[in-house]
Symmetry: C2
């Protein structure tokens, strides 16, 4: 892909595509299937979430982190709040707030940054950062 | 700048440069001066930290968030742990774990993702995500 990030049509198309990829992976995640994200991620992915003592480096380490969760996660409803894509050539930076919930439970609230890279034929995730919204508010 | 991200010399040079920019801004931050980060950030920066109810969009909103902190933050020592730069053309994704401390206090431990964009003459931050390491561990 050439760098067409200054083309408004391209920007709009890539934005829609990236958000659709993320929503599809999240739908699988909320049904207990981490493979949606694993299939989207590159071999050199780097990854943060609040349950880790440090950054995870690489797809095999991320797979090992996710496999024990298979089948154990479920959320009936989820929402990407105000998703935004910053397009920089063959990089796309997706940020959003996220809420998921089951029944009448209080929602889980997250901040998320995903960096996608265009790999010649498709967009893949090279960096994931999940954190709790408001974790530092007493 | 042409996309020279496949050139190993360029990758090494950009990695060193990005880490040096971040360390310089962190040195000012730890001395109570948020302007290092504000001067590095683009007008369209997006930003997460654990004290916010949602993503901040734009430099003026980030400035308003940071100004009350001016002079109130201090850390005698800090360390970027295992900083890594993923270079994607004119985007550079910096991730690291971070520890800061005063005296014999327990260190503050953070995850950080910074996305830099090359702006023709210098690298600037377009996305910042700070979160607490292990916030989800009981």
């Amino acid at each position: 892909m050439n760098d067409t990030s200054s083309n408004p049509d391209t920007r709009a198309t890539v934005t829609q595509l990236i958000i659709a990829l993320e929503e599809t992976a999240l739908r699988r995640w909320c049904a207990g299937d981490p493979s949606g994200f694993l299939e989207l991620s590159t071999d050199d992915i780097v990854y943060f979430d609040p349950f880790l003592p440090r950054r995870i480096d690489g797809l095999s380490a991320l797979s090992a982190h996710y496999e024990p969760l298979r089948g154990s996660i479920s959320a009936e409803k989820f929402e990407l709040i105000n998703p935004l894509v910053q397009l920089i050539g063959e990089a796309a930076v997706l940020t959003f707030n996220f809420e998921s919930r089951n029944g009448n439970e209080a929602p889980a609230r997250w901040n998320c940054t995903e960096v996608y890279r265009y790999a010649g034929d498709r967009w893949q995730i090279v960096q994931t950062h999940w954190s709790f919204t408001g974790a530092g508010v007493p």
